[in-house]
């Protein structure tokens, strides 16, 4: 399945929140929707879920207009919310039933998910009596209760301790492996980098960048080479003394010497120049930009 948002436009009053936003997500691949606060992530998600219609553009599933009553979407809202004063199992069943599941199916799903997330013992407790981490897990159960084909996770990792974060990672991997369309929204880049094959960076209501994460990384200038070794000072001195024309800059920090080249093609010349020092070298690699750097690069400048 392929979920596609095409040229979404949305204004609230005078404010144009989305100005032609497009992105696409596929089964078995996770799409990371990135953006600073107020970039339009939540608005895009709400349009996908048909909480409100866009002013322009459309949301397609396999080329046809998405109907939320035919496809089940699981949503983990950024602002976590369930009924604090109601027993957990009761409200899980309620949300399952609202999504159109039979009573039996809902109960089965709820029991399976509670077990998977190791919170079965709280099923008859009121939500507010649980710790924050456990409330988060219950929230995830509510998201997945209807066995949705599309899963939208808005900041799923915020507020989780490392053990619970690991559990959630495993669940997300299962979802992706199970052929679900997974939409991630976050500004915690490390998680996006870990899970998402595709990304779309939203900036001030527009897509600043989108595509496969690997291609995006490759598209960045590959003219910085990181050198690791036991005697980097010797390497630095040797390079400085020969002073080749392709050497733009050198920066020695901790265990890494970063060499900036005039052109990525000059790396062959660099390797040759390193030959005399080969005995002290551990690793030489072209530096890839981190998602964080990419994100900052594309979303710098004023934002709300």
């Amino acid at each position: 399945m392929r979920l596609e948002a095409k040229n979404l436009e949305k204004s609230f009053g005078e404010k144009r929140v989305l100005r032609g936003v497009s992105f696409a997500a596929e089964s078995g691949r996770a799409l990371g929707l990135l953006g600073r606060n107020g970039a339009g992530k939540t608005t895009s998600i709400r349009i996908v879920m048909q909480v409100f219609p866009p002013d322009g553009g459309e949301v397609l599933l396999d080329g046809e207009r998405l109907h939320t009553d035919r496809v089940r979407i699981g949503y983990l809202p950024e602002e976590r919310g369930l009924y604090p004063k109601k027993p957990i199992f009761e409200q899980l069943v309620y949300f399952g039933r609202l999504a159109g599941l039979s009573k039996k199916q809902t109960v089965q799903n709820a029991e399976r998910l509670l077990k998977r997330l190791e919170v079965t013992q709280y099923r008859d407790k009121r939500l507010e009596t649980l710790s924050k981490g456990n409330q988060q897990k219950i929230q995830l159960v509510a998201t997945l209760i209807a066995d949705p084909q599309i899963v939208i996770l808005d900041e799923p990792f915020s507020g989780l301790d490392p053990v619970n974060a690991q559990l959630l990672k495993d669940v997300v991997r299962e979802l992706i492996a199970g052929g679900k369309i997974v939409l991630f929204s976050s500004h915690q880049m490390n998680y996006i980098e870990e899970f998402c094959d595709d990304i779309a960076i939203l900036h001030e209501g527009e897509i600043a960048l989108s595509g496969a994460l690997r291609d995006i990384k490759r598209s960045f200038p590959r003219n910085v080479v990181d050198i690791c070794g036991t005697d980097l000072l010797r390497v630095q001195t040797a390079l400085r003394e020969s002073a080749p024309p392709w050497l733009v800059n050198m920066d020695l920090q901790d265990d890494t010497l970063a060499v900036t080249l005039r052109d990525p093609a000059d790396k062959a010349a660099l390797y040759r120049a390193l030959e005399p020092c080969a005995d002290v070298l551990d690793a030489v690699s072209v530096r890839e930009p981190s998602l964080n750097e990419i994100f900052v690069h594309y979303t710098k400048g004023a934002s709300v």
């Binding site: 409100f52 219609p53 919310g81 009924y83 309620y94 609202l98």
Partner: protein, 416 residues
């Protein structure tokens, strides 16, 4: 429709399972049981005990001992529950004795046509001075008539001559309808207000706990709004039926003990049609107001905001209630009431009052109910439209114009 059913059931059950809601119902039924069973266990005169204080001491102070004695003996016959004594001390001493509590009241004769009625506090329900005035007037008249030379029999006949009216009522007898109308009106007002507030509360709780984030993505706002309002309405209706049902049952069981009480009889012998009208106007009035409550509460981000937001609606209902209640004491078919019985927001109460106590043509009732039904449905959809926009607005509740614009642009986008 399926979603509506789940929401309705969820809302209804959350009231039915709510301890406070159940406890209120049980307590109200118990209170009614105690009141309605009371005459069975008291010896029937508890009402008189409630109305007048028994065993009061009233002193009579005349110019002479003899006159005081005579008046006191005479007054004792008209004040059988009180103890009438004679005390001819001076005014200051009498004041002293009233203040000290020795006497509850003093009747100080000044002239044949005047007396002072001295009490510490003038109670509103104290009828003694009226009884005394009447008795002393009769005594004065009979003395004067005798002075003109009439015989004892002639005097008695003259004083006892009286004219009585035979009532022929073509419409409603307001003395019969007043009490149950009053009680039902009050019930209507309380019920609509209470259950309306419950709807507001439940909307605001979902919004402030952000359960709304999930709800709004799993159900249509219209289903949510209608499910919520009808769920609360059904819960309220169940409570009312339980209350009214047990009241009737308890009255029937104890009917033999209530025979002398005209007020009670007039309440419980209300015609069936009135009961059905009560249900009709409760249902319509509740729906109309509950939709407004729900819509306004959807604008609140915090529970504290609801009270300010729903204030206009509460006032509207209070006005409807007061107009109807005050007209009950005067003319229930006044121009104001005629108008009010067609305006949807006031008609549940005004038209109901007029049906109970005034004279209304059938077409008026039909028109009023039709207008009410129409506007209830209209308000229902308007409420859902506001709710749809309102639940996603966080922060300060929007100004009216901003809200109107938001609803309009939402509808425009939806039509696309």
């Amino acid at each position: 429709m399926k979603q509506f059913r789940h929401i309705f059931a969820f809302e209804y059950l959350s009231y039915a399972k709510n301890k406070a809601f159940v406890a209120t119902t049980v307590i109200l039924i118990l209170v009614m049981a105690v009141v309605l069973c009371f005459p069975r266990f008291s010896n029937g005169d508890f009402l008189s005990g409630l109305v007048g204080g028994e065993g009061r001491t009233v002193a009579v102070a005349g110019a002479s001992e003899a006159e005081s004695q005579e008046v006191a003996a005479y007054l004792q016959t008209v004040l059988p529950d009180d103890r009438v004594v004679v005390d001819t001390a001076d005014e200051a001493a009498l004041h002293e004795r009233v203040l000290s509590g020795e006497y509850d009241a003093v009747i100080r004769l000044i002239s044949p046509t005047q007396y002072q009625y001295i009490t510490e506090t003038a109670a509103m329900t104290d009828m003694t001075s009226m009884t005394v005035s009447e008795a002393l007037s009769a005594r004065l008249r009979s003395m004067q008539l005798r002075a003109y030379g009439l015989s004892e029999t002639q005097v008695t006949n003259a004083l006892n001559a009286a004219v009585t009216a035979v009532p022929v009522t073509l419409g409603n007898d307001q003395s019969q309808t007043f009490f149950y109308t009053y009680i039902l009106m009050f019930l209507l007002y309380m019920a609509v207000m209470m259950y309306g507030q419950l709807v507001a509360q439940s909307v605001a709780v979902e919004k402030s706990s952000r359960a709304m984030e999930l709800l709004i993505t799993s159900a249509k706002p219209t289903s949510l709004m209608f499910g919520k309002v009808l769920g609360a309405g059904a819960a309220g209706f169940t409570q009312l039926i339980l209350l009214l049902g047990s009241a009737f049952l308890l009255y029937r069981v104890n009917a033999d003990f209530w025979t002398d009480n005209a007020t009670m009889a007039s309440i419980f012998d209300m015609p069936l049609s009135i009961l059905l009208y009560t249900i009709l106007f409760f249902v319509l009035g509740f729906l109309l107001y509950a939709f407004l409550y729900g819509a306004l509460a959807s604008l609140a981000s915090r529970l504290e905001d609801i009270n300010t937001l729903v204030m206009p609606v509460t006032f509207l209902m209070l006005i409807a209630f007061l107009v109807s209640i005050f007209s009950m004491l005067g003319d229930v078919d006044s121009v104001l009431m005629r108008v009010a019985s067609f305006v949807p927001f006031t008609s549940p109460m005004a038209m109901f009052t007029r049906i109970c106590m005034g004279s209304v043509a059938p077409w008026e009732v039909v028109l009023s109910v039709a207008l009410l039904v129409g506007s209830t449905i209209g308000i229902g959809y308007l409420a859902a439209a506001i709710y749809r926009v309102g639940v996603l607005m966080y922060g300060k509740p929007p100004k009216l114009m901003a809200l109107v614009r938001a609803v309009q642009s939402d509808r425009a986008a939806r039509r696309r």
